[in-house]
């Protein structure tokens, strides 16, 4: 092998790992190999931009795909004899009874330090932040698109019938949209990224949000719609967390969820937090969150003490 054919040989897989290892010690090749590997490795992590999800792209064209073949059969009506009627009625009762007895809820959940994305039966995408669960009745999905949520999730809803998210603090109703729902402790916060959603609290107070608006429900109070910064909201989906005048306890709780750690504060400050952290580097995140709030901290495994 010589230097001129090396690139070609390497690409065609003609250079064995052992040979490559050996060549890396050769100053003539070392630099080239490192650079090539860097290009190959980095470029495999490139992600093209994305404006709409696959599900959305499909739902937009689905209506335009006309089924021209007209071989739909006529429906037939069968007259039942009295005996069969009874039998069928009983079978139905039995089936229905069994159906209610069987646990029919499908649940997706994430633990601390985990984020997962799921597809619901209609293609709606739901992305769960850490310590979040959604459950829904799959068998009844076509009739009723409803999920129960605890935690925080981002929904990219496929157009169709009403879509409902139930939380202990209230419900969110949607028709074809994407939005983020945050329900932790006493707070429910909904941010609408597209389309329209209606938020209703447990006292039946409601509010309609349009694109770019968010609202908070705390206690019986449903907050007026406020405009949110789309670049800094629900960015947990890319592992980033931005806060503006947020209660510090909320920020610490998120930090615990993202890294699956336990943070003990000697005293909870009543100052609010404005800043940023990400879920890639715990040490950096702790610095970004705790130091500006004048906490000093110490870490012992998954436990962090701050005062």
């Amino acid at each position: 092998m010589n230097k001129h054919t090396f690139l070609k040989d390497w690409m065609e897989g003609k250079v064995s790992p052992e040979e490559l290892q050996e060549l890396k010690t050769d100053p003539d090749y070392k630099e080239t190999i490192v650079e090539l590997e860097h290009i190959m490795e980095s470029s495999s992590h490139l992600v093209p931009p994305k404006k709409k999800s696959k599900a959305q792209a499909w739902s937009e064209i689905a209506d335009q795909l006309e089924e021209t073949d007209s071989s739909t059969g006529e429906s037939r009506i069968i007259q039942l004899t009295p005996f069969i009627r009874v039998a069928v009625a009983a079978a139905v009762v039995l089936l229905v009874a069994m159906y209610f007895l069987l646990p029919s809820d499908t649940t997706y959940s994430t633990s601390a330090g985990e984020q997962l994305s799921y597809k619901l039966p209609d293609g709606t995408e739901v992305m769960l932040n850490a310590e979040t669960s959604v459950s829904f009745d799959e068998s009844n999905w076509e009739e009723r698109r409803m999920v129960a949520l605890e935690g925080e999730a981002y929904f990219d809803v496929v157009k169709g019938a009403q879509f409902v998210v139930e939380t202990p603090k209230g419900r969110v109703e949607v028709i074809g949209t994407s939005f983020n729902t945050y329900n932790r402790g006493e707070m429910l916060k909904v941010s609408c990224f597209e389309g329209k959603v209606r938020v209703i609290n447990t006292r039946a107070k409601e509010i309609v949000l349009t694109k770019g608006q968010s609202s908070q429900i705390e206690g019986d109070n449903v907050g007026e719609p406020v405009v949110f910064n789309e670049e800094k909201t629900a960015t947990w989906r890319s592992g980033e967390f931005y806060y503006e005048n947020a209660p510090f306890s909320e920020v610490v709780a998120e930090l615990e969820r993202q890294y699956n750690v336990e943070i003990t504060l000697e005293a909870m400050t009543n100052r609010s937090y404005t800043g940023y952290f990400n879920n890639k580097d715990l040490d950096e995140a702790l610095k970004l969150v705790l130091l500006p709030m004048s906490y000093e901290y110490e870490q012992k495994g998954p436990r962090i003490f701050a005062k």
Binding site: S42, L46, P48, P49, D281
Partner: protein
């Protein structure tokens, strides 16, 4: 073919077609719109389709659409660097270096001849083998290798020059 069967095809190939169009056009809105058109057109031709060749058919249609849109396109690639499988801690310095490298890569990709760029990105981003690429683009495996080789050579020269 009914809609459900077609949806399976759509789900299997949409991302690759969309990416392919993006590599060619450098405009994500246009790439997404055309990707949808590709599938509508394929649906309308469904009676004449041989299933074995569906992949290359989709790519041929996409390529033809892309050629029609070619002149008006202003290319500016905006790839992001994303390590989904590596949530482990990395130093901010390392992240910054990687980000810088990714920017250079983006910039250099803009200058790469189109044929080479498409092949290179299909291999790196969509994880397609040379054989799969050759099927989709209707060119020989040798030609794919050649373009890949050209792309790597070009990228390495430009990127290391700047560093």
């Amino acid at each position: 073919m009914n809609k459900e069967a077609f949806k399976v095809i759509f789900d299997q190939h949409y991302d690759q077609i969309r990416n392919f169009l993006y590599y060619k056009l450098g405009d994500i809105d246009m790439a997404e719109d055309i990707a949808q058109e590709v599938f509508i057109k394929t649906w309308n031709k469904r009676d004449k389709i041989v299933m074995e060749s569906i992949k290359s058919l989709l790519f041929t249609i996409a390529n033809n659409f892309a050629i029609n849109h070619f002149q008006s396109a202003k290319k500016k690639y905006e790839f992001k660097l994303q390590y989904e499988d590596k949530p482990i801690a990395e130093t901010p310095e390392y992240q910054m270096e990687e980000q810088e490298f990714a920017e250079k890569l983006n910039e250099t990709l803009n200058q790469l001849p189109e044929n080479q760029k498409v092949v290179f990105l299909m291999n790196r981003i969509d994880d397609l083998t040379y054989r799969q690429i050759s099927d989709r683009l209707g060119i020989g495996v040798k030609a794919v290798e050649k373009r890949m080789h050209g792309a790597l050579k070009f990228l390495r020269e430009r990127i290391t020059q700047k560093i």
